[in-house]
């Protein structure tokens, strides 16, 4: 993209994708005028998977300090039913094209939302030479997950120090960050991921640090012991069955379908984790929020997106969260403190049924 050299510089860009074709349909139909009517799901599927990534709306976000920053949302049009390995090459191309769009718009920092950070697998070398910085946003996501766990435990009088904490997706960037942060604060770690070699290696590292660890690639063997569960895995096939009651679950993964896999919710307190609340609000232009915004309160956003917002408020344009396994406790504490300074706090607890009462 070589156009529009004279654009003003944007503070941040968010690169993202929709969770389902129905979300894309709602979004696209929200753009259609009344006289042309709605497109069917089939028509949307037949068209929008082909559309190259592009900016869809501009944003203004306000800080507690009165600062105002400008950003853009870039939709990758990654097809929600094509997140598997066999589509990796196409998806990487789309993410790279989206990054190029952000660069052409002179965005100072880019947040890789949801799946887009995973497809790049920390391979940002092509873009490091440019002025634009890129962050996966995983540090603030981890911070909100951890604050959520802390707050929920207090709410239910659960003592973290005597709890078994299960991390699903323990060898992922967020899973590792959360595990490392909780070292010394929990009774026992139950670590789960599918790749045994990586899981074993990481579990050994944690236990060598003096923590009690059990690990298993079979989730069903860990579930009956867990008092607290952090799910940070992007997978459709995670089933929560035969669990200990009561249990607190922080579902931070995508797609958000953990609840659908739980036959009975009795004894489960589940919240969507890694989410923040923008205390001083934002404006979108054009404003399509009514067609895609699905949270029970206004001004809720993903930690990964909000990390770029916070860094932009701080004028801290750097690849803050980059690659896999590089998130330190200090990074988590620092980004969380910056977030609070600008009025971005942990989102209230909610799940697909709405706010916790």
């Amino acid at each position: 993209m070589s156009a529009n050299h004279k654009l003003e510089q944007l503070d941040f860009a968010v690169i993202g994708h929709q969770e389902s074709w129905n979300d894309i349909k709602a979004f696209i139909n929200g753009m259609r005028s009344d006289d042309v009517g709605d497109l069917s799901l089939e028509q949307v599927k037949n068209t929008f998977g082909y559309i190259p990534p592009r900016s869809v709306f501009k944003m203004k976000v306000r800080s507690k300090t009165d600062a105002l920053i400008h950003g853009v949302y870039i939709e990758t049009f990654i097809e929600p039913d094509k997140l598997g390995m066999q589509h990796l090459r196409t998806n990487i191309t789309k993410v790279n094209e989206a990054i190029a769009v952000a660069q052409s718009l002179n965005a100072k920092i880019i947040a890789l939302g949801g799946f887009t950070s995973i497809v790049l697998e920390g391979n940002l070398s092509t873009f490091n030479t440019t002025e634009t910085k890129i962050t996966t946003g995983n540090s603030l996501t981890a911070a909100y997950i951890l604050k959520g766990i802390e707050k929920a435990s207090k709410k239910f009088n659960v003592d973290l120090k005597s709890s078994n904490v299960l991390i699903i997706g323990a060898t992922g960037d967020i899973g590792m960050a959360c595990t490392n942060y909780l070292k010394g604060s929990v009774k026992n770690f139950l670590l789960c991921a599918r790749n045994k070699r990586r899981l074993e290696k990481f579990s050994n590292e944690i236990s060598e640090g003096g923590c009690s660890v059990s690990y298993d690639t079979d989730l069903s063997r860990l579930l009956p012991q867990a008092d607290i569960i952090i799910s940070a895995a992007s997978s459709n096939d995670i089933a929560i069955e035969h669990y200990k009651k009561p249990v607190i679950i922080c579902d931070a993964g995508y797609p958000k379908n953990l609840e659908l896999k739980i036959a009975k919710t009795e004894g489960i307190s589940l919240f969507h984790g890694g989410m923040g609340h923008i205390g001083y609000g934002y404006d979108f232009n054009p404003d399509y929020t009514k067609h895609f915004y699905r949270y029970p309160l206004p001004h809720i956003g993903h930690g990964c997106v909000l990390e770029a917002v916070v860094l932009a408020f701080e004028n801290k344009f750097e690849n803050y969260s980059n690659g896999k396994g590089n998130i330190s406790n200090l990074k988590i504490d620092d980004i969380y403190a910056m977030s609070i300074k600008h009025g971005l706090e942990l989102a209230p607890f909610y799940n697909s049924k709405g706010l916790w009462t």
């Binding site: 156009a3 004279k6 753009m31 068209t47 559309i51 592009r54 900016s55």
Partner: protein, 245 residues
Amino acid sequence: MESTNHQFKSIDEFNVVSDVFSQAITGELIGMSNFASLSGTIDDPHEKMEAVEHADSERQHAEGFLAYANKIGLNVKINLNGEYWGRVRKVFLKYSEKNDFIACLIIQEVMLEAYAIAMYSDVGKALKGGPSKLFISIADEEKEHMDHSTEILREELEKNPPEFLKKFEEIHYDCMTILAEFSATSKCESSCGVCQGDCLKLSLDHIDLDVTTMRGNALALYAKAMDNIGIPGEKSIQWIANLPA
């Protein structure tokens, strides 16, 4: 008529290839007529000559397709007044009659060219041998046309962005609506006046193509062309979203 021993697997394949050539030749002749009209809208003598040159290049493409079609004995039908091509031509004339050079460039070099390049590239990949080479080489030449006009349109946008975007939007709905209906994934409601047998769109599987992919690739190229001109994504996505599908 000179004939070669080009082998078709079936009569269906022969019919589809015939219709593909018919659409391509008709489209090129529409392009030729458009550039000829466009030359009348231009004051600058060099640009006038360039428009005539472009018209000639489209004529050569049409002749190239026609000669090849005759060589392999295809059953070609040319109809500049068919349902969709006729409407496209009318839209073009609406702007050329107003001497609106920029509007004409947008229709011919962005919208029609995006469809032509995408279609020729897909057909080029699907067909084998001589026809494949012909479609690919003409697609490459059309890309050069598109690149050249992108420069002009980018400058035009930079002069007065709101006015340019307003004009582009109006032309988009005038012209792209027709192309989007033409390429809709459902069967044409009435005959397009160019295809001779069944609706080409539903018969493309005989040459291992499908209308969804071809339409998707054409819209993708159109979207990229708008990006290259510098049209903001917020606008282009809204315009594409409002097209018939």
